[in-house]
């Protein structure tokens, strides 16, 4: 520490510190500042101001030097990030380049990161499906991981709370496996999506294709206008950052909201080295930050610390927070910190054509992406040779047939042709995976990054359950496609590494028993009550629904609890 005089310490002391400014950190910052708490938001990357820092957002296709393609030298130098679907010329500046932030892959793991204010909430796919009772009771019922210390009823009001502010479009579908929420109008299914939905419902009693629920302002309420956001304009160029604030991002919503309160300090270029634990006080007193530009080490202090660095980096920070009391990482009495990491299996797809509904097409673009089929396997009881199940995306689209044949005027005519092609349909698998002790992250004993922080070793892989589930997905979707009369059905199964789903979870899981978990039912570190983890690291199991909405709800819930505990003088 360069300067320990009293004024300096005072300047560096806050009521709350939030590590990370993305999907969940933004929510923690909002909740604390709403209650008047002096809050420091730490972000390891640069600032990205809403609208101002979206350089590509209003570019036309022909204005991109390579028409969206990444130059080959960038692709070859960045094999990991280059595999991410959104890493193109319009959004590459929001993704971490491989060499700048190295890690060790004991097994292939595509760690997709966005180091900036807003984190990955800028580029996310915006799907917001609630988890259900079947998800929270899953581990206990099926005998894997540990029992979730909460049930659906504990989180339900907090889903409502965050949905109202974030703005979620959807229908009330009345499905127990995908509970309804506080919805703005849904983006409707198109002709073929609707046809498939009806076909599936008639053919199978427990299968449903609904409008995907997504974080788009289909019809904003006052609370959204108050954030400076406006109605989604159906551009579907979201990964560039949205000048309308049409979808939820921390940049458009929670972060400016927190800053507007006057109670927040945002410090970009601040990577957290570790959480400081005070042995005498028996709690954390602050965090040790390294300025990523000057490499200066600075300490900040607060009564409560929220760790929202994104799942894997949250694990890194906790593992690196070593003290006499916690020699193996903060709160790691159980030895499970860094273990039971899981993800979503996105490695199967199916596509086909449909020779019907020729009198219909779509007009404009659908921000929701189409339909969503909630999990129908093993919902009420175990009934297959694998545990858990999968959700399926389902979309139909009708484009024009442009002929590339020939040269000269014939070709020009062919390219200008307006003849509509057939409907094309497609689905992708979103499978739950089972958290296991053998899927873990750990600090490398020797290798450090540019800021002297240990590099992570990541050892995460698929297992036999994933293979069986994928086989079932492809069989079931093929059957549903076939009986629906779809033709030219093509299934594909790739071997994409875990991580590319960008739904990595766990490592600091919640649980009832401190001997087998890191966090309690309030996302509070069992053995260090003023530290909370409310991002993906806290997840006990993965469900098959997209997790961001659940991180938001858990964060708001935990912040509310932390504030009440502070008031009571308990932390």
């Amino acid at each position: 520490m360069a300067n320990l005089n009293i004024d300096s310490v005072k300047e560096r002391t806050f009521d709350a510190i939030v590590i990370g400014s993305g999907m969940s950190g933004g929510w923690a910052a909002k909740e604390f500042t709403d209650k008047g708490l002096k809050t420091l938001i730490l972000e390891r990357g640069r600032d990205v101001k809403h609208i101002k820092d979206y350089p590509t957002t209003n570019l036309y296709p022909w204005e991109f030097e390579h028409r969206g393609e990444m130059p080959m030298d960038v692709q070859e130098a960045n094999p990991i990030i280059n595999r991410c679907y959104a890493f193109g010329e319009d959004a590459a500046h929001f993704f971490v380049k491989d060499k700048e932030h190295p890690y060790i892959q004991e097994k292939p793991f595509d760690w997709i990161r966005g180091y900036q204010v807003g984190g990955k909430s800028l580029m996310w796919a915006r799907q917001t499906q609630r988890w259900s009772e079947f998800d929270f009771e899953g581990p206990a019922r099926d005998g894997f991981a540990v029992d979730w210390p909460i049930r659906y009823k504990d989180i339900a009001p907090w889903y409502s709370y965050v949905e109202k502010f974030a703005g979620i479009s959807g229908n009330k579908d009345g499905l127990a496996e995908l509970p309804d929420g506080e919805f703005l109008p849904a983006y409707p299914l198109n002709a073929v999506e609707d046809y498939f939905s009806k076909h599936v419902k008639q053919t199978y009693k427990n299968r449903h294709v609904i409008s995907a629920r997504c974080a788009h302002l289909s019809k904003p309420n006052q609370i959204h206008l108050d954030q400076g956001r406006s109605q989604c304009q159906e551009r579907t160029l979201c990964q560039r950052g949205c000048p309308f604030g049409g979808y939820f991002s921390a940049n458009a919503s929670t972060i400016p909201w927190a800053l507007k309160s006057g109670h927040a300090t945002l410090r970009p270029f601040s990577v957290v080295h570790s959480v400081i634990y005070d042995e005498a006080k028996g709690k954390a007193t602050g965090v040790r930050v390294i300025d990523t530009n000057t490499k200066e080490s600075i300490e900040y202090y607060a009564k409560v610390i929220f760790v929202n660095a994104a799942a894997i980096n949250t694990n890194l920070i906790l593992l690196n927070s070593k003290s006499h009391r916690f020699p193996n990482g903060l709160g790691n009495d159980s030895g499970v910190l860094g273990k039971y990491v899981a993800f979503h299996n996105y490695s199967a797809h199916i596509g086909a054509e449909y020779d019907g509904f020729k009198e219909w097409k779509t007009d404009g673009r659908n921000p929701a992406g189409g339909g969503y089929m909630p999990r129908f396997r093993n919902v009420y009881k175990q009934e297959t040779n694998f545990l858990r199940g999968y959700a399926s995306g389902f979309g139909a689209y009708r484009g024009y047939k442009h002929s590339w044949d020939g040269v000269g005027e014939n070709l020009k005519d062919g390219l200008a042709n307006k003849e509509l092609g057939p409907w094309r349909v497609g689905s992708h698998m979103m499978g739950e995976t089972i958290p296991k002790e053998t899927n873990f992250v750990a600090l490398d004993p020797d290798k450090k990054d540019a800021w002297g922080i240990p590099q992570l070793r990541i050892s995460v892989d698929y297992d036999d359950n994933d293979e069986k589930m994928k086989k079932d997905y492809l069989e079931q979707l093929k059957e549903m496609f076939t009986t629906a009369g779809f033709t030219n059905i093509q299934t594909s199964s790739n071997h994409q590494a875990p991580g590319l789903d960008i739904h990595e979870m766990g490592g600091a899981r919640m649980g009832l028993d401190p001997k087998t978990s890191v966090l309690n039912k309030w996302n509070q570190v069992h053995a260090c009550k003023n530290v909370f983890v409310t991002d993906g690291a806290s997840m006990t199991s993965t469900s098959c629904q997209n997790p961001s909405l659940t991180y938001m709800a858990l964060t708001a819930r935990a912040a509310d609890y932390a504030i009440s505990e502070m008031k009571k003088g308990n932390i």
């Binding site: 390579h66 028409r67 779509t362 590339w404 509509l420």
Partner: protein, 182 residues
């Protein structure tokens, strides 16, 4: 167009590439980041692109600067292996009009140039892998550059940056011509 005029015009078109009078006096070398080509080859690719997307009552490849786009994409966005195949195939290309019509591509009429290029799209053609790679690259990038040009996306197939609507059920009979992603 004489060579001097061609050279000047091309220098305007090629943008980042440096045109240096080297090697033979009459056939300067054009340096790209990852390879060199000569002026005759540059003329050939320009000519091929214009044959693929000719100027009619509407703009053609030359009007739209597609040569520069083709070369930028080959230079910046292709693998070393693909660049090598492109260069090798380009070297073999001159033999095709020679064999078919006993003249160089530059000396062919518009119709003959079209016939030469169409010979690559015949199913039973016997062209080498590299030669086909060269043709397919020039054709593909010409069409891509054309269909993503400002002209095409504002006049032929109008691209909307801000649609402001999603109609899930849109009757085909109500379709207005010229809307992309419509």
């Amino acid at each position: 167009m004489d060579r001097r005029t061609a050279l000047r015009n091309l220098a305007l078109v090629i943008g980042a590439a440096a045109l240096l009078p080297a090697c033979t006096k009459s056939n300067p070398i054009v340096h790209y980041k990852h390879f060199d080509i000569n002026l005759d080859q540059q003329t050939l690719i320009t000519d091929m692109a214009e044959t693929i997307i000719p100027k009619t009552t509407t703009p053609g490849a030359t009007d739209l600067g597609l040569y520069a786009f083709i070369m930028k994409m080959v230079d910046d966005c292709s693998t070393k292996k693909d660049q090598q195949a492109f260069i090798k195939g380009m070297g073999e290309f001159n033999d095709v009009p020679k064999k078919l019509l006993n003249k160089s591509f530059a000396d062919c009429s518009k119709k003959e140039k079209e016939d030469v290029l169409k010979s690559f799209e015949k199913k039973d053609n016997k062209y080498s892998k590299d030669l086909l790679a060269f043709y397919n690259t020039v054709k593909g990038l010409t069409v891509w550059g054309y269909t993503e040009s400002k002209y095409f996306l504002t006049k032929i197939n109008v691209y909307e940056l801000v649609p402001g609507r999603y109609n899930a059920w849109f009757p085909v009979k109500n379709l207005k011509a010229g809307t992309k992603n419509g």
